[in-house]
């Protein structure tokens, strides 16, 4: 039986306005979702062209969850987005050409070819780069929240994890510590129902991951992760609650991973009916329909968004392909940090 609160879908425009989004914001959210999917679709093409070394991961199906949460963040808030959360990078303002350069291991990617795929983050935009050991970023996010609490700043940390990562001890330790100290952190679970090939009944024994929150001393909420406005509303509530000293929330966004774990994986183990059912609530299509019937998004507006996103991504791709490969002579640089490295927005 569910312990977590199961959030209602968002209905009226009035409710959305209450939550803080005007018409222009809503079109911006839609634009970010389109760009998010576009980046990953182009990544697929680059991979098939042999331009991406290693493997390639996407967050198809998670665009509403990632963009919705990131839209609710304040400018000084920070977060630890993972490999299904391209929408967070896009919403925070990461330039797509940097992402393509990162994908291709080029010098102008945020890691200058030292790490691949979404293992990147622009710290000036409040982002902390993930590692492959996914739940490891939860205690790190909790640490950011601890810093805000120590300095009594009205800032919030967002710590992402997947339902697969919820099995690991880092998740338990991070939530235990955050709960005992009521730190300003929101735990965001991207529950896409598959940890590689492992289905949820083999990952956790409760109905929802968010059911655990009560045991850590804070609220758990489950939201339909294909409903960008519901995600936004719940994330906003959780973030503002944390900012006001109300402690953590575990926000679980329920989606389906619409592709394999990575590009090599055809996801044969996911029942076809499951894909069919979730394809009916494609986050972008769903929001487009809502915008048309609730804020009268016109054909022209929609065209402008699609066309400008396409141009942005084409230009970005071209620019990234011109970026040089990294210089191996630089390999030893930066194993240890220097005093100048501390000259970052956060350390100032």
């Amino acid at each position: 039986m569910a312990v977590a609160r199961e959030a209602e879908p968002v209905g009226s425009l009035h409710e959305v306005r209450e939550a803080g989004l005007d018409r222009e914001d809503l079109l911006g959210v839609y634009r970010n979702m389109i760009i998010t999917r576009g980046v990953e679709e182009r990544g697929h093409i680059l991979y098939r062209q042999g331009k991406i070394p290693g493997s390639f991961y996407t967050g198809r199906g998670n665009e509403a969850a990632s963009v919705g949460v990131a839209t609710a963040m304040g400018p000084d808030d920070v977060g630890t987005p993972l490999h299904r959360d391209m929408g967070v990078h896009i919403t925070r303002g990461v330039q797509p050409w940097h992402i393509f350069a990162q994908y291709m291991g080029r010098q102008d990617g945020p890691t200058h070819g030292r790490d691949g795929n979404v293992h990147m983050a622009e710290s000036s935009l409040g982002l902390i780069a993930m590692v492959s050991h996914l739940p490891a970023m939860l205690p790190v996010g909790v640490g950011a929240a601890l810093a805000f609490r120590i300095r009594e700043e009205a800032r919030v940390a967002l710590a992402w994890f997947g339902e697969g990562a919820s099995a690991r001890g880092d998740t338990h330790e991070g939530m235990t510590f955050a709960g005992t100290r009521q730190l300003p952190v929101v735990f965001v679970c991207d529950n896409n129902q598959w940890a590689y090939s492992t289905p949820t009944p083999l990952e956790y024994a409760t109905e929802h991951v968010a059911d655990r929150a009560q045991a850590y001393g804070f609220e758990g909420v489950v939201v339909d992760g294909t409903d960008v406005l519901a995600v936004y509303r719940e994330a906003k509530r959780a973030i503002e609650k944390a900012r006001a000293g109300g402690g953590p929330t575990l926000l679980e966004c329920l989606t389906l991973r619409m592709e394999g774990h990575a590009v090599h994986d055809d996801a044969f183990y996911v029942p076809k009916v499951m894909f069919e059912k979730w394809a009916e609530s494609d986050p972008i299509e769903r929001f487009r329909t809502w915008l048309r019937s609730n804020v009268d998004m016109t054909e022209e507006e929609e065209d402008e968004i699609t066309t400008s996103a396409k141009k942005l991504l084409n230009d970005a791709l071209q620019r990234a392909e011109q970026s040089p490969m990294p210089d191996p002579a630089d390999l030893l640089h930066g194993v240890y940090a220097s005093a100048e490295d501390l000259d970052t927005p956060h350390h100032k």
Binding site: H119, M120, M137, V142, I150, D170, G174, T176
Partner: protein, 324 residues
């Protein structure tokens, strides 16, 4: 100058930095109300309050992970592992996150993890280990192992100032046994610089931590035989002072590498290999290693005595080298 124990020197360093720099805070198990299992932070919570001397749940991953996150937000966290042995629970946070973040994505992680380490008091397999070589092997981490009160204070201040993650191994057997003159003012001892503990001309002993004193006692005995032994206290295991070691070995032409950690793959192997690679022509004897055997640390006193290198073991090793 005041005479302080090794433990008091560590407290002094921590207090000095916390008074000087509001960004510095201490987090660990029982570090607040109780003052830490070894009382390093006794009275700190009264002075600095519960948000700068933070009693954490029994969760080493959360402690080190939280330090990493807080450091990225501009603070200067110092974590205490209650015993160095428990750092295994935080391996991922140190090795996967903290060590690689600067190189990988340009984000410095200026944290210090204090690790009460070492045996000699029947702590058994889980309260006696010296895990420095495991971490010295990880690019991005710094490992310091002071032997004297003066170095303990100066190196801890350097560690807190350092923009990289630093593992500060404080040897428990030295806490109250070793006293020394420690300047009252703030000073730093550079990370990565060795110290000549004892000058000699016939054999070099390269060591660190509590073994510095074992080596010194052995050197005193050899002096009676007319053999002059130099003791090089490495002070930092990573980065380590290769130049100082090679200078000493080139001078004496014989080297004994000594550590309390187990032998195979211990950091002594790296030192011995470097001497062989870079000072082979200057050697008059094969490099000798003395270290604990490849077993867990035993509990019962006669077993532990057989495990930790003793003065007589070092004396025997030095005599072998002297007669080579």
């Amino acid at each position: 100058m005041a005479e302080l124990t090794y433990l008091q020197a560590i407290s002094d360093a921590l207090r000095t930095e916390m008074r000087r720099d509001k960004r510095v805070f201490l987090i660990g198990e029982d570090v607040g109300v109780y003052g830490g299992a070894f009382k390093v932070s006794l009275g700190f919570q009264e002075e600095f309050g519960p948000w700068r001397v933070i009693d954490a749940p029994l969760a080493e991953t959360a402690i080190v992970g939280a330090c990493t996150g807080a450091s990225m937000m501009g603070l200067r966290p110092v974590a205490e592992m209650q015993f160095a042995d428990f750092v295994s629970c935080a391996w991922d946070q140190l090795v996967t996150v903290a060590a690689k973040q600067r190189w990988r994505v340009g984000t410095p992680v200026p944290i210090v993890v204090r690790l009460p380490s070492g045996g000699g008091f029947s702590g058994g397999p889980f309260h006696s280990q010296n895990p420095e070589s495991s971490f010295a092997h990880i690019p991005g981490l710094k490992c310091v192992c002071p032997a004297t009160p003066e170095d303990a204070k100066g190196l801890l201040i350097s560690a807190i100032e350092d923009p990289s993650p630093v593992l500060f191994f404080e040897h428990k057997h030295l806490y109250r046994r070793i006293k020394g003159e420690v300047p009252e003012e703030r000073y730093t001892v550079p990370i990565g610089k060795a110290r000549t503990h004892r000058l000699g001309k016939d054999i070099s002993v390269i060591t660190w931590g509590a073994m510095v004193y074992t080596a010194d006692e052995a050197a005193q005995q050899l002096e009676k035989d007319g053999v002059s032994v130099e003791v090089v206290d490495l002070r930092s295991v990573m980065p380590w002072d290769k130049a100082a070691v090679l200078d000493s070995v080139r001078k004496t032409s014989k080297a004994l590498v000594l550590h309390e950690d187990t032998r195979t793959g211990g950091f002594g192997a790296e030192i011995a290999a470097t001497i062989a690679e870079e000072a082979f022509e200057d050697l008059d004897a094969p490099v000798k290693r003395i270290a604990a055997p490849d077993t867990p640390v035993p509990f019962s006193p006669p077993l532990e005595k057989a495990f930790i290198p003793q003065v007589e073991d070092v004396v025997a090793g030095l005599r072998d080298l002297a007669g080579y």
